[in-house]
Symmetry: D2
Subunit: 420 residues, 4 copies
């Protein structure tokens, strides 16, 4: 299901051949339900902080997208499942009208998880009909966007339930499996990259978000990029060397956060006597030094880099550097896996030094779906790659994820760069 | 199940005769389950503001009381259902140890509602065994306290789910019944009461909370007391006369609240064009002028009284005045009922002019249960009577309920008093 | 300048004989300026928390009272000093119109301290003219109220600058004098008081605030009252015995405050190695065990009483008990003085067990000045007596001061009571 | 006093020839005092929001810099003026030790404005001695840094007192002068710039901040840049066209700010019936359509650009575009002046599309002064140019000013760019 784009080496993209769209739709929708299946009705209802959303809400909002942008305008005779859902499950689309306040999403005990299942079935049945017809290109593109959008929410469904479980004193596990024996990561290596004019960004036939375009020229100085993300063991060294107590390593805003929140380790690390456990979808476990470190804010990634004398890569460096590697194609995992080779990639999102801004010549999609990316292009940092929660078909090397630099509840790590 | 106490005219009290304790236990516990039955697992999990608790939590905490104070110390061989519940379902008993933070109660998606049902069954089975034995008086008193405590939570379970439903845009109904035709209340009448030395407070054989004791002498000036609570229709007149816009009617702190929260009507009243609807456990309905007005803060009750030139009664006036009335014995209702006679009573709690303070000579119970009442005796106002949510067996004319003057989510109304 | 009121033994009151009013006016106004004199223009401008006001504001607001309620309505040809001052220096009188937001009082760098001096001179000159005329009784009463009001602000001017200086790391002293040698307080003694019907409240010819009236009958049980306030040394024992770490001694709200603010001593006590210093208008000094303890919240006073097995007196008990004592008539001091006899009184306000509520039959003054007291009769506790900052002519045994139970920046201590 | 740097066309820089350093020192220090002179002691003490600092604090902190980094370590026999000043007037230099909390700077009524004048004189006298010696290059550089630092605070002193005066209901004027007749701005013109590889950043002999270096290559696409900033009149059109009510023009975070703060115009614009006045250091005045619009957040600048179909320039575009213009060399003004030609420049800082990030190859200064710029390189946007408050000798075309995108209290405007 990946697509080779000759212009930009290997990318990971959603299938776009005409016949496959209905199959893609069914596959993506089924994956959402698969991820929600281990969750009880209560688990699916809770919102543990304003940045998170209930699992039930993710399931409904992704259906709302298809209903609002495709079925209602384009399928003759379509009857919306419930008129109130337009209000309840809009997220941030101002153009579509008023919406339920984000921090109140966890208050929606009704509609129930069962009602949401019925909503999904209703939308899926109508979409099955709709996808039998030959769609004009703009509607095809909207279906693809809707599927990519749902894949994003598949990832968020897991980061959000991880957060909810993490504040439950009983520390529930989403998936129970045996832990591998902890071991050290492979040694860190560097790849040298010459300076010069390069092109980055997406330009191909497959689906990409508008923020990955246009593909454009950029000038890059020579640099070196680490061949794998920073490991749990390396990060533990930083902690034990007093990294969280040395203001000189931190940005001013990061240091304020460290002091205010009394940070001393990544999110989901739990004190255990003198050491640490980490909480994940597998429950509470001992630290494994060979995993890529995750659940870091940009501030923590940056302070670590400062501590080593290195820095974070820009997103251009990251994209150019990674294209040269022979990357694994990791599938889903409920927690970042031990790194097995120096080419490790794909189990944690990687913070970059780049602020999230429009590419030169960027223009957002017209209409409500154009609200999708551009309106968040401030006070966010770009993350590249994918995490173990990211559906494999959703990943691309040109993909631009973004979060505020203080965000820690995502599966966010980093790899180092240096001036050459 | 009520008890006549010759010293203080009719009171409403819990049966205390030895043989009835097990039956009382079963009846009270069953009532809790009956009230929770219409609620889905999600409904039972949510906490819509820090003052409220999830229905599931109410069900568990009341069981925790019996487990902690009776079964664990006094029933040989008793095994606690789950050790983590001691932490999760403690409310404010500092003496029992640390507890789950109150505002986080809604985050407990696990244990599930089913697990709580199993917890209740476990406790009930053990209590059945325990109650077969002849209990020493202090343990008997603790059982009675535990039942009275559970009855309090039966009321809170409903006020809290009402609040949760009220912020759900779909406005769910807890109970669906036909609305009676709106009608006017009976005319307001006044009962004259001579000044002098009187006794108030509880002194009898039945159960009462420590804060109702000791029965003591107090001097009261002559006064007049309204024979029924203020009605919705009368309160609507106050609103329409600009009551919420006239600072001179309000206490300084109340006026600040009116401005900050932009108050313009009781809680759960909803604008409907130029008029109002009210939300309740029966869902959204037109105003009924004949109901007693409810969901008021003390500030609103006081401003209304000021507007009429009257005042709120002290709790002594209330108790002395109500004892002289021939009161109905109202049962449960999901919303305050139309008042049918000028002796209306019992569908809304009634704010008084009295701050919640210890009676002269008051001494709290020793030990953890003594934390029950005394520690809240500051910055709260006394409410007297009962509401339509109060279990009938739980009510007494000497009962002292208390809430901060800003509280609006209780079924709180008032009746007027005047100097004679 | 005190007035004997046969009904209620000795009271301390403002002179009311006709000829003295102008002299009283001049004396009170001069005292305000005397208190402000040691303060720089910057000192007079700052507002260190919303509860406090700048010294300059106190000087202006007290003048505003005379201008607004007397000169503008009653002195022919009076020209207000500056029309904007009506807005700037109104405090909480809703009836007079909008006002500058209280927490913004410290932002008024202009008008300058010099401009306020000119404002005071302008008002004083007009008042001198006005007071030469024969005033109708209601205007006389308003002048007396204005003077009592200014005396209240004389006290607040000092508590507020004490707070401002306390958060300045350079710890300035308002007045530099040598400290006496620390010594122990006189032994604590108790006076027994029989139960029965008594009268409390003000009824005399002199000035009193409306909240002290009407004098009325109350029933009091037999009690014992300490002959002096609790001392610094006694309070230190409470601290060293772990009083701030034992939840069982505290009201629920008080304990929350202890934890949230990490309280471990009275306000203005400063850690000094293992011991304590206290900051006051004399600067930083060693603790003196013989002083009455001050700058306590009601919660702290109540927790101490609980620790000793005693309690706080009601305000009726306080008034009845103190009337029987042969009290000193203390003058001004910049800090509570060592207690010299067991009849110590008057250097610290004394928290009582009574919530601030209207006396039976209370009716506030009509018009704007009637906002003075009644609108604060909720969520406040009564303090009785006077402090070393209180102008001697302002004190009465019937005086009802009031603050929220969390307030600590006043010179607030307490004396103990017991059931007899 | 400007320096020609052949590599980068005209720049504005501080003189660095050896003989001039003492003269520069005297000139810069005198300018600070000149700016503070119209302010009363109270004006100099107040802090109207946490982002602002008191004028007195600016005067002291700039002296603290010379005392801490030069006199104490390098001048034999130097005695610090007051040891407590190290703590009181440190700003954010973690390496120098603890410091007075920023939001509490307005509480420092002592030391007085006079004491700060004495502090400045003490430091100036010692610096005069110190600057007579031949300084090693690193100390020379520190003196230059100290002067540039003081020039920054000269600007902040004015933006901060403007904010303080703006919340004073009496609306004081810092400087009283007659207003020119309002008039329209010159027509807006565009300069075309070819795409290609260019160099930006500072590289010369004069002083520059570390964040302007290293000069480096960057690739820029063809673009057009407006020849003058956006005017008040043009911005008023945006307001009147409903710009503040159209969510589609705004970034998500900007729109949240508009709603939360109920924004409807730039900071310091004041409703006047149906129209607007603007408050400035000249007091309240009618709008002048010919001035560059100022006191905008980045969100407002960006929304305006969106409304016109244009965009903000990147900082590279701005620097490259402005270098080609024949710019005026504006001196100080207390408010942005009417634009007289299409080459208008220098009265308002200009927001750019660029996030504040290190230039490729950037390395901060070692030691405490290295905290100066790098630690703020997150969540800030770059502003270029200078404002009417900026000392002329302080400005450079390579200068990188930065503030959070929500900041409005600076003299911040913008000019438009377009893709060519």
């Amino acid at each position: 299901m990946t697509v080779r784009n000759e212009d930009q080496s290997e990318t990971y993209g959603l299938a776009t051949s005409a016949g496959d769209l209905a199959a893609s739709y069914r596959a993506v929708r089924a994956e959402t339900e698969r991820r929600a299946a281990p969750l009880s009705p209560e688990d699916q209802c809770v919102q543990s902080m304003p940045d998170c959303s209930p699992a039930k809400w993710h399931r409904a909002h992704t259906s709302w997208f298809f209903e609002t942008f495709l079925l209602t305008p384009h399928l003759d005779g379509y009857t919306p499942f419930d008129p109130s859902f337009t209000y309840l499950f809009n997220s941030y689309y101002e153009a579509v009208g008023p919406r339920h306040a984000r921090p109140q999403r966890g208050m929606l005990t009704r509609p129930s998880a069962d009602a949401i299942a019925a909503y999904r079935a209703h939308v899926d049945a109508a979409m099955a009909t709709y996808l039998q017809t030959r769609l004009p290109p703009d509607q095809r593109a909207l279906v693809e966007l809707g599927l990519a959008h749902e894949q994003q929410h598949q990832e968020l469904l897991l980061t959000d339930i991880l957060h909810a479980f993490s504040i439950n004193p009983t520390r529930p596990a989403y998936e129970v499996v045996a832990a591998p024996a902890p071991r050290d990561p492979p040694p860190l290596d560097w790849i040298q990259h010459a300076g010069g004019l390069y092109e980055i960004g997406y330009e191909g036939l497959g689906f990409a978000f508008d923020n990955e375009t246009p593909r454009h020229t950029t000038y890059v100085r020579a640099f070196k990029l680490a061949t794998r993300p920073t490991s749990v063991g390396e990060y533990l060294d930083f902690i034990e060397d007093g990294g969280y107590r040395d203001a000189s390593l931190w940005h001013s805003e990061g240091w304020a956060l460290v002091q205010q929140e009394q940070l001393e380790a990544p999110l989901h690390w739990v004190r255990d006597g003198d050491g640490w456990l980490r909480f994940g979808l597998h429950g509470l476990r001992p630290l494994d030094p060979g995993e890529p470190v995750a659940h870091l804010s940009w501030f923590e990634a940056s302070a670590f880099a400062h501590w080593t004398g290195a820095r974070l890569p820009t997103e251009a460096e990251w994209e150019l550097g990674l294209v040269k590697l022979d990357l694994p194609e990791p599938g889903f995992a409920a927690h970042p896996r031990q790194m097995e080779s120096t080419r490790a990639f794909g189990d944690v999102w990687e913070w970059t030094a780049s602020a999230y801004a429009p590419y030169p010549g960027f223009s957002p999609e017209p209409g409500a779906v154009g609200e999708y990316n551009g309106k968040f292009m401030i006070n966010q940092q770009v993350l590249r790659g994918r995490s173990c929660f990211t559906p494999a078909e959703h990943a691309r090397l040109t993909y631009r994820n973004f979060f505020p630099p203080s965000a820690r509840w995502q599966v966010s790590g980093f790899r180092l760069a240096r001036d050459a």
